[in-house]
Symmetry: C2
Subunit: 434 residues, 2 copies
């Protein structure tokens, strides 16, 4: 087999065999096939597409390129969740302890934020002492003992995906639905997931801007799960406006705590209840969504999820003092409200613009490896469809510098559209693919 022939086959829109894909990915991982050949191949994939069979073969090849975790000794069914990334999406912080408190252990490898999209690990690291890097042994032990663990992906998990993603990032080949789907699914499969709830964000603040793209990605990931003997259910959820109120690491952590204490924002709580219920169903802990929903709502209300959160944070070395007294979490020096310039109905709160404003404040990373400021961020006080009076607050900006504050104000004022005529609120979900 020659790498150039595999490139030419894909260039000429022919279907690659599983054997060819496996050989190509193995050669790439081992350094036998150079970056320039893989870059040309990735561009051919982006422009010519791949069949579901090819994408599944790629997923498995990347999953098998490193360690394959097996969680079956620790959990009855290894259930995972994955969000494609959005603004204000702190769902894992609530859902992981909530599902664990319902009796289904959750062991999850998570990522960091990049660009306008936040990352679960960054939010957790706003807790002093929280340890995001665990060994496989620590991960398995905590999953068995505490029932919930969230940590960074180890370098040996799907290394081919890490290597391919780094190359895609610099060759304009990120925006390929088969490459995105196989990247996500390879990591989930390598991390031992048997059942996965996928939260495919769609809209202005998501990587998938249109419902058609999001549906395509959702269907593809569900198909990959089926073809590899796993199960997946995908939600198409709104990301035109931020999820919940808080955007920014400590702010979002605080909102997660409030939600676990039954005083979180309604839209975010509803989102968490849906995702958690679905995890119980595909984890075979509940016979139906109705039963699951009752269980989850009751466990949240009872405080057991909040207790599980505390156990989890403590197990990973986090300072419980700041969690129990969230005003001690990192905060900002400056705080300023942005007021409505006129009365009317909110027609848009542009999620990407809000996310980018948070990045400029220091809450996120313009590029990999940038340091972040845990205390800064934005509170979003109104959602699409709501009425607002002139001079009522639209946002509260938390900043650590006048210049950042001023730039964020500018960006946020461009994120909002207020009109006279009424408009329906945005739905939480556009559909479910299973």
């Amino acid at each position: 087999m020659r790498a150039v022939d595999i490139i030419i086959k894909k260039r000429d829109r022919q279907e690659l065999t599983a054997q060819e894909i496996e050989w190509f990915i193995r050669g790439f991982t081992q350094g036998d096939i150079p970056d320039y050949q893989v870059a040309a191949w990735a561009m051919a994939v982006l422009l010519n597409g791949m069949t579901d069979e090819e994408t599944t073969a790629l997923t498995l090849a990347m999953a098998r390129s490193g360690e394959m975790l097996d969680l079956r000794s620790v959990v009855p069914i290894a259930v995972d969740k994955h969000s494609t990334g959005g603004v204000g999406d702190k769902t894992t912080l609530v859902v992981a302890p909530l599902v664990a408190a319902c009796g289904l252990p959750v062991g999850k490898m998570s990522g960091r934020g990049l660009g306008f999209s936040g990352g679960t690990l960054d939010k957790l690291e706003s807790i002093r002492g929280f340890q995001a890097n665990l060994t496989t042994e620590q991960f398995l032990a905590q999953l068995a003992n505490v029932g919930v663990v969230v940590c960074g992906q180890t370098a040996d998990l799907a290394p081919a995906d890490g290597k391919l993603y780094a190359l895609r990032d610099v060759t304009g080949t990120v925006q390929s639905i088969p490459l995105i789907a196989s990247s996500i699914m390879s990591k989930k499969i390598a991390a031992g997931a048997q059942a996965i709830v996928l939260d495919v964000k769609v809209g202005l603040g998501a990587f998938m801007k249109t419902l058609a793209e999001a549906e395509q990605l959702a269907h593809l990931m569900v198909a990959i799960a089926r073809k590899t003997g796993r199960r997946a259910v995908a939600y198409l959820s709104d990301m035109n406006q931020p999820l919940g109120v808080a955007v920014g690491n400590a702010l979002e952590l605080r909102e997660a705590i409030e939600t676990l204490q039954n005083r979180g924002p309604q839209d975010f709580e509803a989102h968490c209840l849906e995702i958690a219920s679905r995890m119980l169903v595909i984890g075979e802990q509940s016979p139906s969504m109705e039963t699951a929903y009752q269980t989850v709502a009751q466990v949240l209300k009872s405080g057991k999820a909040w207790q599980k959160f505390l156990d989890w944070i403590e197990a990973q070395g986090g300072d419980l003092g700041v969690v129990l007294e969230p005003h001690r979490l990192p905060s900002s020096k400056l705080r300023q409200e942005i007021l409505a310039p006129e009365s009317g109905v909110i027609h848009q709160v542009h999620a990407e613009k809000v996310g980018l404003a948070a990045v400029y404040l220091g809450a996120g990373r313009a590029k990999k490896g940038d340091s972040i400021d845990y205390g800064v961020g934005i509170e979003v006080h109104r959602k699409v469809g709501e009425l607002i009076q002139k001079n009522e607050p639209l946002f509260t900006v938390h900043a650590n510098g006048e210049e950042q504050l001023s730039l964020a104000r500018q960006m946020l004022s461009e994120a909002v559209i207020i009109k006279e005529e009424p408009i329906d609120p945005l739905p939480h979900f556009y559909g479910v693919v299973e």
Copy 2:
């Protein structure tokens, strides 16, 4: 400017500016833009195409990546010719001294054979002592003193093209008409050509298999010449069957000598007269093709072209003894005729199959850097449309080993189709683009 944005722009079918292309090629040549980014870009170019303006900008960027020759101190108008490569194409060997003998000096940089296609330098090097590598100073001096010089391209001529071609070769991005056109034209422009006769081969033994592709390439190269203030005329010439009789280095050199002595094959002589006449016209030495044709035919007949050939070979150190007594050129140990298995009309002499048979005999290179055997090759005794009787010779194979001979016999027998019904001869030319 960021390389990844240039890749993305091309990926998304947007037109690149001349400035962007210039920056990208300069960065690549200097090693600032890595191979993997250029590979992804080349695949995007192959699949999405380029406009004539983009291709022209690429041509100029590659031409300017190294030394730019200026021949105007030595020749009134620097005229060049270029063939896209075929089987049995020894045209330069005749045309260069012929045009020079008509009073228009010809200084040309040529290439080596690769795959089924032969190279002028290899044919010349079958003459003992012939020096293909000249310095720029030697090149210019010989052009001034002798009026004809053909040598290898210096490393400093269009180095970006050399680097890009090497990358395209291993990334499945050779077969792109804009990339082929800019590769050819960048070298011609860097070598100082002001007027160029292009011989675009089309058919079974050419890189362009269809007339549509060949026309596209021809139009594009003529457009590039116009947009850069040069002049080009492109012939679309047949390469379904080999040109002339001889295929193989010393055999082809011998056929060129015979043609210069007015006893070459009719099809090849006609081809040379047409190309040479066109060079005189675009070199402004003749007012019309009719006049040019008379001049060229007369100069060939008179022996002046043959004398110019001898002066040329001598100037580059070639042993005139073997040229004057061609039986002393490298020859093969084994010689065998392949006879017609039946009587009928020749419907096909598949040029690529004949070319590959010659490669297997040792006349060409399977890959760059392979050594070649000057004495081996094939004589093609019949052309499409001609009658043949059973057991009359179709080919004579010149080989240096039984195994190669046997394999070549097999390949050649598959190259020929004989049928009962008559068929028209193949045309020499399918058209002229100017």
